[in-house]
Symmetry: D2
Subunit: 343 residues, 4 copies
């Protein structure tokens, strides 16, 4: 049994952490913090948790957090980096769902987030929490940067091809579609149902903050520098990411299906579909699974990878718990082996 | 460990049974039948079950079904009543999610379903599987008729008031709203997204098949005959029923909130919200919970009850498993104590 | 050709006014005001208007507004009443889409809007702009209070029955369902797609501001005081109101269908459907039509009226233009005789 | 005034033709045919047309159709080609919204539609009805093949770049997203709201029938053979297509924005957005407009074009009327100059 704290649990990744951790047999939830909601019952803000989470939000308190075995940050960027150094010093393990420790380069971070990083010394220590790449390092990490939602779906789709040098790193395209919960639980006109339902639109084509994160991850496995065109779209649904990935084959393609199946044969949360399949986001809703299919239309040299996740689970809170399970030697699938409700 | 069979698992209540039973530690799934899909992998039709249900659909076989401890019928009406008598004879216990055994009166059944009932002798033996009313009888039942979705939400909302004689049974109104999954997994133009999205409409105002079922259940607890106006509506969402119930108080209202809280104090799946609340269907999505609030606007003599369920869980498959748990002395909440994913 | 001004055109009723007026052959749009967006192109905020409205938002200017033949207020409550008295003095005609002049009783207004009314002297002068009731008075009015969305759908449904004394005014129930655009174009967490999609919920059961407005209108045609239970619901769609209305017949019902058909025989924007029909909101989307059906289920003494409108057209901007057409002797249907796009 | 017939008006392109033609001052609707619905009032099947279209469906009759000035086919493929040759012989002009005359090569047609073409002699005579390419030829055409929805959005996006030789024709990618009305008004499980809402999925990645149509059109303007990877997706909305197009610049890019603005400067229905914009499908809903934006992210050599249309208007019925306007010398925008209702 470990003692867990959650900082900033009033957003969507927070409530999703609470939903999943409520069924974790090894977790004792010590504190759920929120400055703005301190004193409110968690289940009053999130009535789905009535009968499952019987706690109040409390103001964040460093001593109490430091007494936890692990603290999750489910906060907007810049919050974690203000508290993490102190907690790290006191030996608490950290799983940060925000973007604060995802980029290893402080200058690059500043360029994309428009402010200086306040604990750059921790950037090299932080482990990028993608178990399919970093499983062993994660086990011993003190500070985990949980990957973003687009980066998870995109990297899992490109990795088998890049690792084997099968595609040209210089011409990658990721056309990605996300449900609106990716924008977080904050009042914004563009995310109103009246604005985003019955509508499809691209956004941030000139540059999205997940681009450097994806590029960093892909560069790690590529022998040549990666050049990625990344176009995110807003889709009229609550949850789900569909990444449609395009690469140019550099050689006669062998059996791409086998490449993917072998790469993920032992992965509990990556499901390579049979050849010719089209994964749909609803089959992973509420689950930690990434479903992938690979196609080579008209046998041209363009390979198409379809990769779907739930942005709030494998793209955030579920992956965070997967990291925690690894860090504390729990079975990796504990509490996150859920099945999507269909329809 | 009990052996379970499911007849007709290609519909929405079928896949929901499979999702929930996959996590039931006391259940061994023996067979999943479908005439049309025999030979197909269940997880090929329902990819959400990949990695969780590793079985093929088989053609229904009476001997195999009879060897099960319990058989669920997740079929359209008229299918169960063709097979149930034989299975009953051979000692198999039956949980029928269809309408075949819900009405005790065969003449009335024929009138609403436009064909004669073929096993009327079992109607009196069948137990109406609403645990909040019939828990003790359910434990020993051989044949359970699982309540319909509208009837579950409506009866749970009216019961406390009728049992106490607080409202006039002669003037009940149930204005109910359902997601389109209530129409089942069958190709129908009216249920297309292009037809039913961005749309709200009433239907079957002149008479819906759930009306006699609700009336029968309410009459059982009322000292005077019930007269119910029942208006169902189609709502542009997948899951969820919202029943808005209106009654005329027959006497000075005491504390209606207490009436509801006391009635359901020991019910694991009925959650009476604090006074002044408005339950929303998304808080019960994927769960077996009925959330209820009671209001008396402007202190007039009209009482308003708001009652929400997931039509496929508490309104069908979850309630079916709740019945099974009672019948086999498993803890009542086993496998159905899930939490809604929000948002 | 008349000169038109619009105050506060950055909301949903504003953009809808602009869409409809752009096709009005007798209207010259003089100014579109918005304090916050002054200097912005209207078509930059609302790209659907590109090529149709070639104007900037301007800061509201009394002199310029006073020079218009008619000024629409598409503002939150309390804005119109600050400017209208001056404009009235200067002879400008006013069509107020907000709630400021809908209630005739200033005390009641204060009670529901939590602040004193600042131009109570105009309340008796204002004409309630429901053409189906007040057509002749509207023609000569200087100040129109455009009815709210729920009040329009509800009154049009109850009027034929109350006017004929066919139902008991003491036991009226309006169970109403609205799309989320009714909440306006303002950032609010509850109206996010992630919160309000795949969800159904009642709200404001204890008292909604449209209740006194509806009651006032119904009292005007009833010989006995009206007692209405009004329960609004939020429905996961953008546009549309579905009002389901319940009344108790006071006498042997004659042919209710004929009552409705005769009442609305000459109304260009009320469409009584054939007996047995169920109107759906999508058939009135983007149009000024109210579609109505009347039912008497099981021949009991409860009558059920189904009434649907588009909350932003017949429930706001379309009705405002219908009033304008009457005031300036244009054909009543000019610019608002649109057809719903289906699907 | 011309006499118009519509064959097969029970589908979505049919009802959309009826909606738009109802407002066309030069059109007299002679007959609306449907074998299955003969005798039914059109407005009974499509209640949005009540008060606007007062006609019955009739069984298709060649003599009556031949007496029309123009006949629209809003039918599944293979229906038009059975009747068109006879009508052509009798001098009737034809606007075919189906796929029957879109491909010039009968062998290719047979390969994609799995049956022989029965009037291949007309393929060379048919004019591809994309006014932005073929305006002058359309004026005199007797037989128009209205482009498909994906082909319209995709070609309009690629044309300016290909015509100028700015991108490599050998590496084109079209990642397209469509609302479900694109699947037509036919009962199919995959298009149910319960299946396609809250879901995103690609389909037909191995080969979609619109691929050869797009390739044919692009080859017409390209000096080198076009190689296109075309991946369509199903999006949980009713209407709208969002095409995200990728090309590799062959030379130092000049001002791409100007290229697009100049190409479409005189086009009434193509709206090039300001640099940096992201068109959204809702701004073209119900309209004949194609909105386009061009981007060059990170100044790499990958150009991204965003192109949106309403699949049922510019992607079908609106474009069909645009063709008719050209053929009969009506102002090109008559009856199709509508404004999207927003929200």
């Amino acid at each position: 049994m470990i003692k867990v704290g959650i900082v900033g649990a009033t957003g969507y990744t927070g409530v999703e952490l609470l939903r999943l951790l409520a069924n974790h047999p090894q977790v004792s939830l010590d504190c759920v913090t929120s400055r703005s909601e301190a004193g409110t019952m968690v289940s009053s803000l999130f009535p789905n948790l009535r009968g499952h989470v019987d706690q109040e939000f409390t103001a964040p308190d460093v001593d109490r957090l430091a007494s936890c075995d692990v603290v999750f940050f489910a906060t907007p960027h810049c919050v974690a980096m203000a508290m993490v150094p102190e907690l790290i010093k006191r030996g608490t393990r950290i799983i940060d769902l925000s973007a604060d420790y995802r980029l290893r380069n402080a200058t690059q971070w500043q360029q994309w987030y428009n402010m200086p990083h306040t604990s750059p010394e921790l950037l090299s220590e932080a482990v990028y929490g993608l178990p399919e790449v970093n499983r062993e390092v994660i086990r011993d990490a003190q500070l985990i940067a949980v990957p973003g939602c687009y980066p998870t779906a995109t990297q899992l789709g490109f990795l088998p091809l890049l690792e084997q040098g099968l595609i040209d790193p210089n011409h990658l395209i990721a056309d990605t579609k996300s449900g609106v919960s990716g924008a977080g639980r904050k009042a914004a006109i563009g995310a109103l149902l009246a604005e985003s339902s019955e509508n499809m639109t691209a956004y941030a084509v000139s540059g999205h903050r997940h681009l450097p994160e994806i590029t960093q991850g892909l560069n790690d496995v590529s022998n040549l520098p990666v050049n990625l065109t990344f176009v995110p779209h807003l889709t009229p649904m609550i949850r789900g990411i569909h990444a449609t990935l395009y690469g140019q084959l550099t050689q006669h393609a062998g059996d791409l299906q086998t490449v993917f199946e072998q790469r993920y044969a032992d992965e509990p949360f990556v499901d390579v579909l049979p050849a010719g399949s089209h994964p749909s986001t609803r089959t992973v809703r509420g689950t930690n699974v990434c479903r992938i299919a690979v196609h080579q239309p008209q046998q041209s040299n363009t390979v198409v990878v379809l990769s779907v996740i739930d942005n709030l689970v494998k793209g955030a809170s579920g992956q965070a718990i997967q990291n925690m399970n690894l860090m504390f030697n729990f079975p990796e699938t504990t509490a996150i082996n859920t099945i999507a409700a269909l329809p």
